[in-house]
Amino acid sequence: MAVVGCTPKPQSPVQPQINVYFCKVGSDALVPTPFSVDKSLVGSRLENALVAQLLAGPAVPTSTVVQFPPGTTATVDLAGDLATVDLNGSIAKAYRGGASDEIGLFKSLTYTVTSVGGIARVQVTIAGRKVPTLPGGEFEIDEPLTRETFAQ
């Protein structure tokens, strides 16, 4: 499934492409998936489209990548190099997944959001509030995430 603003395959040489990063299940390996995006999308509109695509999953449904729970919604706001991603919906109520998937979710979110030039940090909020972890989760999200967060 593709969301508004994103096209699974490059359609024209002039149409910008950008990666949405998914994460393989059972590992922290990233699966960069290029999408063509509308030229009109810039800034927070572009970020919102990318995150919407991430939440929607790969264009071809697969069970090999970690995906946000159905019913999860997100909005992205930008300020300098910081993107604030507010997650809402089912994930804001309770996370019942495992640790590896939880890491995969935030790793894919961080890599996707920071694939836009100028954005280096991702502050995750849950239902509008900065929290230490997802409800029922373990992974810390009260500080901005960067790609370095996931370095070993």
Partner: protein
């Protein structure tokens, strides 16, 4: 002058039936009453206190006099105990001078010389002296709250006393423990209210009262929040807009709220010449937006984030360092004389996880040297969090990273005349995206380093370097922040500081999830993560005890560890608090993995602090060997409980609940036993086992620290 005074001791005095209890009535008996071990939880000031030897006698909780939990409980309220084996008297002194004396065999406790009856006397059981906890808590003016499966001892706000001094109004609020407070000021067209909130404090005397004193017209006292960590708010109604300041008095267990019409009056009433009474403008005056235009100009607001007034005081010795995230807390010897800054209030929640809100500056780096060591003092503009690492032999290097900090000026190389220090550098280690100031110490031999705020000066971080090697089992890394230690530093520096000294024999096991949070589920196999983790943890506890360890479980049933109805953050922090307060040697959190896909399988051990990798790898190896589960390796990741514990910490994801093969294994007790045995063996392999009797060397294993 109107006074609202509540004295909880009145009730205790009514219970007094003995006139003098300082003479023991009955000699100690080697065989005392029965002590039934219990795992009931004990909470003080919102912190779960881990007791090694908590028992029930005659239906009431008792504990051994040398139990680390008792010391942690006393420290939480600014008290300490004094007792020598073979003697009959246990003296407990509080920061404000209160003296509580228990006498072996006497069923009356002396509180400032007044005997008060208890249900039963302190007693010996075997060679151990046991104290009843509830009378002790009451003697310390702690409220006793009901709590399922445990005891909640809550410090009290005991009095609110307004008075007028010249042109200002002063409201003194007294508590039964060192106070930490927030202040807020609200104006509306009809009301002007100053509210002072005390997190962790309760009150048995909620209500409103009119107090026509100076600018104050009334006081309302209310309690809110969970019973394990209530907040008491004292709201003072004012006649009109005002400026206010608060200052700590009475050894830290009282605060004077000074209310004035303008800044001149306020400053005149809080002379800077009294170092112990320096005022701190907690909240700037909020000029009410609804004021009509013809209203006279509001008084000059106190600027936000005012520079803390500093009153250098002549001194011949250093104030004690209150450690943070480290195990020992003795002050550096006389001779080192860094400046002493005035104390300031420490507004903020008590949670040890509370991060500083803003980036702070390091405005000064000073060094004071004594023959036995060096103290580096960093002057900060506000609270900071830090993390430290130590490399063992042969490197013997140490570094401390202060998060969200900007070093004012260039990097500094601190010159030391001491032969055992090769180099000390203070530099801006990172600026973007994180601001980190690093203090790097390169010695010429093994050194011991302690970090913490300087007693009475929460905006000064002290790093003490001593000419001696650290203890063999000293941790290789730790975290801390000046936010929490600022509160711990409030009482006199003679009291023991938190966290407690590391107990080299203690392992804390944390069965993941529980209560309202079941974790992952596999309904097809009837598996719930919180149940499986508990089953493994119980077996692990037995295995470790068999090895000779003391073990504390963060939970031993299907319930939350944190306060009832607490937040996720409180729940996770409570688990850390159990280990931190007990000074555990190692923290192990047990979890079961899960995925949206049924394909992934295997076990993984997570760590966060780089120096914990060796522990993670050792436990992972032994768990894999013992259980035969697929090896998914060790991974570094920022999970809350392994980040916010101050000792070597790992989180073990045993297998995947979502994988049919793994789930089949997880449904078998024999597999859970194998997993537990593997983890226990890993801990033994990493540590060499629990320390043996005094004088008996125990095997040493390389910690395997990695360089940054």
């Amino acid at each position: 002058m109107t006074a609202i005074v509540w004295k909880g001791r009145v009730l205790l005095a009514l219970l007094c039936t003995l006139t003098c209890a300082l003479v023991p009535l009955t000699p100690a008996l080697a065989l005392g009453p029965a002590v039934t071990p219990t795992r009931a939880q004990v909470w003080v000031l919102g912190r779960q206190i881990a007791f090694a030897h908590l028992g029930i006698t005659y239906g009431d909780p008792v504990t051994q006099i040398d139990d680390p939990g008792l010391h942690a409980m006393l420290a939480a309220v600014g008290a300490r105990s004094s007792w020598q084996p073979g003697t009959r008297f246990v003296a407990i002194t509080r920061g404000d001078g209160k003296l509580i004396t228990f006498t072996l065999g006497s069923d009356a406790v002396s509180i400032d010389g007044v005997p008060v009856a208890m249900p039963f006397a302190p007693f010996n059981s075997g060679s151990e002296l046991y104290l009843p906890l509830v009378p002790l808590a009451k003697a310390l003016d702690l409220g006793v709250r009901g709590f399922r499966g445990g005891y909640v001892f809550v410090p009290q706000i005991v009095s609110v006393t307004p008075r007028r001094e010249g042109s200002v109004t002063i409201v003194r609020i007294e508590g039964s423990a060192p106070l930490t407070w927030h202040s807020s000021y609200a104006n509306s067209a009809r009301a002007h209210t100053l509210t002072v909130s005390f997190p962790g404090f309760g009150t048995d005397n909620a209500g409103s009262q009119s107090i026509a004193v100076g600018l104050a017209t009334g006081a309302d006292v209310s309690e809110s929040g969970p019973p394990g960590f209530p907040t008491t708010a004292v709201s003072i109604s004012l006649k009109h807009t005002a400026l206010f300041a608060s200052r700590r008095v009475g050894g830290g267990a009282a605060v004077d709220v000074v209310i004035a019409r303008d800044s001149a009056q306020l400053h005149a009433a809080t002379p800077a010449s009294t170092p112990s009474s320096v005022h701190v403008a907690v909240t700037p005056l909020q000029t009410p937006p609804s004021l009509p235009k013809n209203t006279p100009a509001a008084p000059t607001p106190v600027p936000p984030n005012p520079s803390p007034p500093v009153e250098p005081t002549a001194t011949t010795s250093s104030p004690a360092i209150v450690p943070s995230g480290v195990a020992t807390a003795e002050p550096l010897g006389a001779g080192a004389s860094p400046p002493v800054a005035s104390s300031s209030a420490s507004p903020g929640p008590l949670s040890a996880s509370t991060p500083p809100l803003t980036t702070q500056k390091i405005t000064d780096v000073s060094v004071a040297e004594a023959p036995s060591g060096t103290r580096i003092t960093l002057t900060l503009t506000g609270p900071v969090a830090f993390e430290w690492h130590r490399l063992g032999d042969p490197d013997d290097r140490y570094w401390l990273d202060i998060d969200r900090a900007i070093l004012v000026g260039p990097a500094q190389t601190v010159l030391s005349k001491l032969a055992f220090i090769k180099e000390i550098k203070v530099s801006q280690h990172a600026l973007d995206p994180d601001q980190v100031v690093r203090v790097s110490i390169t010695p010429t031999q093994a050194i011991d380093v302690r970090v913490g705020t300087i007693a009475g000066s929460p905006n000064q971080l002290g790093i003490e370097i001593e000419n001696q090697p650290p203890a063999p089992d000293a941790p290789l890394a730790g975290i801390g922040n000046t936010f929490v230690t600022a509160q711990a530093s409030s009482p006199p520096s003679t009291q023991p500081a938190l966290p407690a000294r590391t107990d080299p024999t203690l392992i804390v096991i944390d069965p993941g999830h529980g209560g309202n949070d079941p974790g992952s589920l596999n309904t097809g196999y009837g598996l719930t993560e919180s149940h499986v983790t508990l089953a493994i943890a119980e077996r692990l506890e037995a295995d470790l005890k068999h090895q000779g360890w003391h073990v504390v479980m963060t939970r031993d049933g299907d319930y939350e560890v944190g306060p009832p109805d607490g937040t996720d953050a409180q729940e996770l922090q409570a688990r850390c608090d159990v280990a931190n307060a007990a000074g555990a040697r190692i923290f192990v959190s047990v979890h079961i993995n899960s995925s949206v896909s049924s394909a992934p399988n295997g076990g993984t051990t997570y760590y966060w602090h780089p120096t914990d990798r060796a522990l993670a790898q050792t436990v992972q190896n032994d768990m894999i060997t013992a259980s035969g589960i697929t090896d998914d390796g060790v991974i570094r990741n920022n999970f809350y409980v392994i980040h916010h514990t101050t000792m070597p910490s790992i989180l073990v994801e045993v297998a995947y609940l979502s994988n049919p093969h793994d789930a089949t294994l997880l449904a078998r007790q024999s597999f859970l036993d194998q997993v537990a045995a593997g983890i226990a063996r890993g801990i033994a392999d990493f540590t060499g086992g629990p320390p043996g009797p005094v004088g008996q060397a125990r095997p040493q294993h390389p910690a395997g620290a990695t360089k940054p």
